[in-house]
């Protein structure tokens, strides 16, 4: 009969955290940043159908890194939560803060009580009427929650990408500028690797391996819909990126 070894709670939590961190670090990064006319969500993602970025509700979007099946189930649960809440109260009663705190609950429970923690990191973004009212929440595998101001990077080499954004990001930029920053930040880890071997990043990030979506600040006036979320097609992304190069 096997005997269970004693493991201190500190050690157990540390092991779990290390395990989750390793899983997340393997993935590519995602960037969320606020700009003048909305919030842009940009992911390095070669797949056209397995999304890392999704719509949750009218003015709320979701971005994730880590294990696809785990964050996809969290995204779907988020959509269900938001739709039930909006249906039973009112559409205006669904907020990113509410959603983020239930995500935090859920992740925290899984981290402590389940066999294995979720290897995911999430962002919940809500676009406001003005840029100062934008909300970007970061949720980590253990259920901790942080309110980021302006921009956020997560995934593999997140510190490097976040550092790059810290240098670039400013209030009041347009979409072209914001996308250029996002691409520059996502490319930073690659450039560092390539830089060590000589020459700039060999395989630059193009529209083909980017997943881009925006939450439009004034989507209601422009498109007449209460849904601010809009996925940008690769052709559109290509156009925006090249227009920035010429300017």
């Amino acid at each position: 009969m096997s005997q269970q070894f004693y493991v201190s709670p500190e050690q157990m939590m540390k092991d779990r955290a290390d395990f989750a961190r390793k899983g997340i670090a393997r993935g590519r990064s995602v960037v969320v940043l606020s700009y003048r006319d909305g919030i842009a969500l940009v992911a390095e993602n070669p797949s056209a159908t397995l999304h890392k970025i999704g719509e949750i509700y009218d003015r709320i979007a979701f971005a994730a890194v880590g294990k696809y099946n785990e964050f996809e189930s969290l995204r779907q649960a988020g959509v269900r939560y938001a739709d039930v809440r909006g249906y039973s109260y009112d559409r205006s009663d669904v907020s990113a803060r509410g959603l983020a705190s239930v995500y935090a609950q859920s992740l925290g429970t899984v981290f402590t009580a389940e066999q294995k923690p979720f290897e995911v990191e999430l962002a919940v973004a809500e676009v406001g009427a003005i840029q100062a009212q934008d909300h970007i929440f970061r949720l980590t595998f253990d259920g901790s929650i942080a309110d980021e101001s302006g921009y956020l990077a997560m995934g593999g080499n997140a510190e490097l990408v976040q550092g790059q954004l810290r240098d670039l990001w400013q209030v009041g930029a347009g979409l072209e500028q914001a996308l250029a920053w996002a691409v520059a930040a996502l490319q930073k880890p690659r450039q560092d690797i390539a830089g060590a071997g000589g020459g700039p990043g060999a395989d630059g990030l193009g529209a083909g391996n980017l997943e881009v979506a925006v939450l439009e600040r004034n989507g209601h006036e422009v498109r007449g819909t209460h849904r601010a979320f809009k996925r940008l097609a690769p052709a559109e992304v290509e156009k925006i990126l090249s227009s920035q190069g010429k300017a």
Binding site: I56, V79, R80, Y81, V84, Y87, Q105
Partner: protein, 273 residues
């Protein structure tokens, strides 16, 4: 949602089980649904009813129009009610019957379509949407048997196509595809007569708006539960047009002009019947 359900987070294990909001709410929170209650025996108090909806196809899409009156017995309960709603980007629905339940079914149906789109990342087919609406009307059958019936009409175009299609329903959720035009509600017999004579193949959008408005004016003329255009309050019918560009509400300026034309013509002709 009561206090203990408010904190309930959809279980991870059931995630991915269904893309339907209706299925999810039926399982997790059936009290939120507009139907499904067993009513005690007794006579129902009077409730507001919505009446006439006219829908017709035209070249490139489909159109739906509803009057603005809700009645409770012989009393006008509301002059501003809207009975035609966008269901999603490419479809609209109109409702006749018990207004309270009908409006909730519309809300549920709108969430159902949006929920599917968000979970699956793609739109439901037009047939799929029509079938979901049928399921909701069938779920309301016990209420209908007690006198709280809802009869919708559904119209839309398949995304990427530009052919408008029309679906009607009975209280059992039976779904029937209608060709050319259709009307539901107490004034529908009169609206239908008008549509039969005014509808022509290959009409453009503007002609279709004029036909729908005239059909409603005819219905209001003969059915006391249907409200005609209110020239004093500047109340025009609610008209939605669906093309491959999406569903769009016809502006009140355009409707005022169309109503003006019909009313002027009938005044000049001094029509009696």
């Amino acid at each position: 949602m009561d206090a203990e359900q408010r904190g309930a987070w959809p279980s991870i294990t059931v995630s991915g089980a269904s893309s339907s909001f209706l299925d999810y709410v039926s399982a997790s929170n059936p009290g939120l649904l507009p139907f499904g209650r067993t009513l005690p025996a007794g006579t129902l108090p009077p409730t507001p009813h919505g009446t006439t909806i006219a829908a017709l196809t035209f070249d490139g899409g489909v159109l739906m129009a509803g009057d603005r009156r809700a009645t409770m017995g012989s009393m006008i309960a509301n002059r501003h009610i809207e009975k035609v709603f966008p269901a999603d980007r490419f479809s609209v629905l109109g409702i006749a019957g018990t207004a309270g339940i009908a409006i909730d079914i519309v809300r549920l149906f709108q969430v159902e379509l949006e929920h599917y789109e968000k979970i699956e990342g793609t739109l439901l087919s037009l047939e799929g949407k029509a079938n979901r609406l049928g399921a909701m009307i069938r779920a309301n059958l016990p209420m209908a048997l007690q006198g709280l019936s809802v009869v919708p009409v559904f119209a839309g175009v398949e995304a990427g196509a530009s052919v408008g299609r029309l679906f009607s329903y009975d209280v059992t959720g039976g779904r029937y595809e209608e060709l050319e035009h259709h009307s539901v509600g107490s004034g529908s017999v009169f609206a239908r007569g008008a549509l039969k004579k005014l509808w022509r193949p290959g009409m453009d959008k503007d002609a279709a708006v004029a036909v729908a408005v005239e059909a409603l004016i005819d219905a209001a003329d003969d059915d006391c539960a249907t409200g005609g255009p209110d020239l004093i309050r500047k109340l025009w019918p609610v008209v939605y047009v669906v093309t491959d560009d999406g569903a769009q509400r016809v502006s009140s300026d355009i409707l005022a002009a169309v109503v003006g034309t019909v009313v002027d013509r009938q005044t000049t002709e001094r029509r009696e019947a």
